[in-house]
């Protein structure tokens, strides 16, 4: 399997080992019933999930905030190698059709790699983000709603305590 070059300024790697089989880890990522319980950090919830498990297939989730606001997201699978590697992106929708850009949501590609380790599994999650999107988001957050002012005040306050 080819190694993917990462950029530390825009990309993340999470490396974990868990004492269950790769088949089970795969199931938790690819079966809606098993993905929904853990996919959203509490107190947020995943309230809907659709998975069409094939390259070009749809990965659809709806996250719900504690106040009941809903945030739907549609992605597309790029690689599906059972129990080994799953790649999807939020930049594309079903059948590789490009998604419309959503404000304040930089697109990403996520790569999940599974490796059998004794009785358990080592899994890697690599999340790749486009640098232009991150920069743009920082700027938006800086100028909208006086965010920049709040941040300056916060820095001053935190330095004073």
């Amino acid at each position: 399997m080819r190694k993917i070059e990462l950029n530390p300024a825009t990309d993340l790697v999470l490396d974990r080992t868990v004492d269950v089989s790769p088949e089970l880890v795969w199931k938790a990522w690819t079966v809606p019933k098993h993905l929904m319980p853990w996919f959203c950090p509490l107190p947020w919830k995943t309230i809907e999930c659709e998975i069409d498990l094939r390259p070009g297939g749809k990965f659809y989730t709806v996250m719900q905030s504690p106040e009941g606001q809903k945030f739907p997201g549609t992605g597309c699978y790029l690689e599906v190698t059972p129990n080994e590697r799953l790649i999807w992106t939020s930049a594309l929708g079903p059948d590789y059709r490009p998604n419309e850009a959503v404000e304040n949501h930089p697109t990403f590609t996520a790569i999940l790699t599974l490796e059998k380790k004794g009785s358990g599994t080592r899994y890697l999650v690599q999340a790749l983000h486009s640098s232009a999107a991150i920069r743009e988001m920082h700027e938006k957050m800086g100028f909208e709603q006086g965010w920049g002012i709040a941040l300056d005040q916060m820095v001053a306050y935190l330095k004073s305590i």
């Binding site: 825009t10 999470l14 089970l24 199931k27 938790a28 950090p41 905030s65 999650v125 988001m137 941040l151």
Partner: protein
Amino acid sequence: MILFLALGDITRMAVIRELCRGPRSVSELARPFEMALPSFIQHLSVLEDAKWIKTEKQGRVRTCTLNPDALALAGGWLDEQRSLWERRLDQLDDYLLKMKKTEKKEKKNAKD
């Protein structure tokens, strides 16, 4: 995204600005807003869940302070993404161990 989504509201933004000046009690924070107290407290709990603020109760007064970690997160969008993934994968690992137990039980029941 949770950190920033929590901020997407005029009331919560104003609360953060006020707390930048120092700790405040819930009633001090609520005073400028024409809003029922339970609705205001709902906003505070969103900020608390998103780790923007901490609250502490002493006697009958609940005091809110900014969470210093929020600054680091707000400064680094990528760090926020990392923390989101960490929390998500913590939940995944817990869920996987539960799945393993359930499957074992099901296999055992099938045999019996």
